[in-house]
């Protein structure tokens, strides 16, 4: 059957995606299509995690600053779908805290997105369970902060939140979705790696760990520096988690979100890194974007700036303007001649900006991680 060149092109692309030669994301990036978006519905949260990079109370909002309304999120969803967004992450703060969450979620679930929801699960109710049973997200990522009430008290300021999380997880196992338990490690829960994994595995074999904790941004005020792991602790714990999975002679799925070393030499074939803004070594601003709770479009959620305004300037103009805002951005000068880079350094313009306040200003914490990695690679 002859369908012309377009058939051949699509068949070739689909074959390549199936065979993992390239990805739909890379294909989208090469056309500057906003394939993957995040809607950060709120910065508010019922928990007060001491390491949170984004949490704010309403009283901390700047004058004139406000959360987008449900109608605005739904309008942005329609614009995003029209512009080509396929993967949609709904997150916060705690998105279930919004009374209008069901309205926003129901609308987004009809727009043709592959939806991932991040939540702490403590606010799950029978009504929300019914909503997710009716319109299941493709995946739900539940953050688990501690293996007992005491750790929740220390990290989140509320021991009852541990029980509420377990209740929420139990409810979510009744949803036809892929459930993932996500843990961020700081000093208060670093001894609970195995216990947290054991809890997670009661509900799912998807256990995602994060050891890299960067400073609070965009007006959030957590004192991250006091509670996060030292570079040595971070790498020890990561190693311990790897060893656990290495020791398993099974098909248990290890989902390890451990910000793998960012290579300074980049693979153009796989992800289209030569696409502007080339300074970003990932798909941010190429096929990925993040819309903050107050309506700013960022390249990724770890940035404070630069940003555009998809509601006032239009979604597509805002998306198209984003890459140009990185023109002239450079890493800190020291990074270009740093020997530690070869062993992997977690620097990127976003993490550097979080830590030092500026994309071109070096951060002693990031340097310390790079140095620790370098020394271990030599050993």
């Amino acid at each position: 059957m002859s369908g012309g060149d377009s058939n051949t092109d699509v068949n070739r692309r689909a074959k390549a995606w199936n065979e993992k030669d390239t990805t739909f994301a890379a294909h989208a990036a090469s056309r500057h299509i906003p394939l993957a978006g995040t809607f950060e519905l709120t910065a508010r949260c019922n928990l007060r995690c001491k390491m949170c990079y984004v949490r704010m109370d309403q009283s901390q909002f700047a004058p004139g600053q406000r959360e987008l309304t449900a109608a605005e999120w739904i309008a942005l969803g329609k614009d995003a779908a029209a512009a080509g967004t396929l993967n949609m992450l709904i997150t916060g703060g705690e998105p279930l805290l919004r009374p209008d969450f069901p309205e926003i979620y129901t609308a987004l679930s009809q727009m043709g997105f592959i939806i991932i929801l991040y939540t702490n699960a403590t606010l799950m109710t029978p009504e929300l369970l019914a909503l997710f049973q009716r319109y299941p997200p493709t995946m739900v990522g539940v953050t688990l902060y501690g293996a007992c009430r005491e750790t929740y008290a220390k990290i989140c300021g509320d021991p009852d939140a541990f029980d509420a999380t377990i209740r929420g997880l139990e409810m979510l196992t009744r949803v036809k979705t892929t459930l993932e338990v996500r843990c961020t490690f700081i000093k208060d829960n670093m001894d609970e790696l195995n216990a947290l994994r054991a809890i997670a595995n009661r509900f799912t074999n998807r256990f995602a760990v994060n050891f890299d904790v960067f400073k609070a941004i965009r007006g959030a005020t957590s004192n991250v520096a006091d509670c996060r792991l030292t570079p040595a602790q971070m790498l020890d714990l990561r190693q311990k988690n790897h060893e656990y999975y290495d020791g398993l002679n099974s098909e248990t799925q290890a989902v390890i979100e451990d910000s793998s070393p960012i290579e300074q030499t980049i693979d153009t074939r796989e992800y289209g890194f030569s696409i502007e803004p080339a300074i970003l070594g990932c798909l941010a601003a190429k096929s990925m974007y993040w819309i903050t709770w107050d309506g700013k479009m960022l390249a990724c959620g770890s940035f404070s700036s630069p940003y555009t305004f998809p509601l006032s300037e239009g979604f597509v103009p805002a998306w198209n303007r984003l890459p140009g805002l990185f023109e002239g951005v450079r890493y800190p000068e020291e990074c270009y001649s740093c020997e530690y880079i070869s062993a992997g350094c977690p620097n990127c313009p976003a993490t550097v900006q979080s830590e030092s306040g500026s994309m071109d200003m070096i951060s002693s914490y990031i340097c310390a991680i790079a140095k620790e990695r370098w020394e271990r690679s030599k050993a």
Binding site: S6, V10, L86, M111, R134, P137, T138
Partner: protein, 88 residues
């Protein structure tokens, strides 16, 4: 036969993809990529139609012989049945 409700056809990055929405996410995880003719057949299957009508539509729309069209149509329908997207 026809396509079940709850599938949304979208053009993303010059590519036609089909995505389950709402309750359909329970039955179908992932996306389907359609080429031009796949898209043509999918659209025809939006309403109740027979195998003969589908074949006739393809032969009317494209410059192609029945011998060439039939195996491709059969493959499409087989894939669609396997994926569970067809209401029969």
């Amino acid at each position: 036969m026809k396509i079940k409700s709850g599938y949304l056809k979208r053009i993303i990055a010059d590519t036609c993809v089909v995505i389950p929405i709402g309750e359909r996410v329970i039955d179908f995880k992932g996306i389907i990529t359609l080429n031009e003719i796949g898209q043509f057949i999918w659209d025809k299957l939006d309403e109740e139609t027979s195998y003969e009508d589908l074949l006739h539509s393809i032969l009317s729309e494209y410059d192609v012989s029945e011998e060439s069209a039939k195996p491709d149509l059969d493959n499409f329908l087989e894939d669609a049945r396997r994926l569970g997207v067809l209401e029969i």
